[in-house]
Assembly symmetry: C2
Homo-oligomer: 254 residues x 2
Amino acid sequence: MNIVITKIEKMSNKKPKIRLYLDDQINSGTVFLIEGNQGHYLVNVMRVKLGDYVIIFNGFDGEWLAEITKVGKGKAKITLREKVSEQKSDPDLWYLFAPIKKARIDYMVQKATEIGVSRIIPVLTERTNLDKIKFDKLLVNAIEAAEQSGRMTVPQIDDLLQLDKVLKDWPENRGLIFCDEAGDAIPMQEIKKSFDKWAVLIGPEGGFSPQEREFIRAHQNTVAITLGPRILRADTAAVAALSLWQSFLGDWAQ
Amino acid sequence: MNIVITKIEKMSNKKPKIRLYLDDQINSGTVFLIEGNQGHYLVNVMRVKLGDYVIIFNGFDGEWLAEITKVGKGKAKITLREKVSEQKSDPDLWYLFAPIKKARIDYMVQKATEIGVSRIIPVLTERTNLDKIKFDKLLVNAIEAAEQSGRMTVPQIDDLLQLDKVLKDWPENRGLIFCDEAGDAIPMQEIKKSFDKWAVLIGPEGGFSPQEREFIRAHQNTVAITLGPRILRADTAAVAALSLWQSFLGDWAQ
């Protein structure tokens, strides 16, 4: 413990600000080569020097201090030193959305990760005009957002799935919240049905088709909620609905 | 009333989708020339034809049907026909934010308008790197967002103000919610202080300076709230905080 305390004192009792996700096993003394996006970030953006410290997490083993032990062109070597935080999980919340345009997809993934979802599922709906997504790009967005937001986990990202297939295979114990403008949709705080777990579904710009709406509403796990009397864009509705879920059913209410 | 019913029947009992804000008096028979952004939207984007109907609102007199009575290059003439909705107000909520980059400012104004604020005040803080804003551009964004979201009002947009000046002249009966990461910040649903009216203050990316935080906290009208254990970007925090306010204190809970 002494080594850790000395290091933290050296940093004026503050945790390093740079956080990096590694999809790997973490042990004291292990050396990692950081390159690609993360290497660029470390060397060119944050301009780390030998002896600087960063925080490493892998989604399972908490947070670890790692020392910069080599700096190169757009890459660096780090040596794992000590564990400094126990693993903290994020809420078990699935987020389903209908992707429209590339810029919006990156945004949706970033925001959902910050707010704290565990799984992101892009769904194809009748009004979706995209037939494929760049999975790798979405994962990079999720990792960066997880690093910046202080999360110790990275949400699982699914490949594009047909909405009707997702609903057909839907797990019994998970409620599905979707935003609807019909008269019987309720405010999120009035949700009475209690499921073990939850998901939030955000439709495409322009909404679901009438048939899709019927199909979604007919599913026994769905709960229709209203987000007030004004019309929200899909990206606004996403952040609003996810934030409300965190406040009422997630970890924002402490 | 017969003329209105016939017109609505002609439109299959559906209200026109196109909504335009006019900063003017509204009376049956008045003719308006629609040009600029709105003219371009009508003629080039929505491709309106003679005899089409649009909805007009001015923030005071409800919604009115107006008929397209002339179509030109990027502009059109409309003739006001009949009132179809009584004026509906939007919640009295002030939204203060620290502008950073142009794209984000347009976004902040658009989202705040959709979610339903009555006044938008850009504030200069120590960490704001902008010293002026394009007021006209913000107003155009607010008007477009009001038109698209179904609002019958457009939020008031202030010019850039110094945060300390805003706080010095703060009205006694209005609470000021701000997002803080300190230990004693409470979830929005636990706000006990009751003010007649409210405002939400979103700090710049990177937060307030320590002196600013002390200054804000010292004000008798401020309430510090937390938005969960993860760090949110300023634009995420804005939509989250405004959505939560609408749910707990605004008109989302019906």
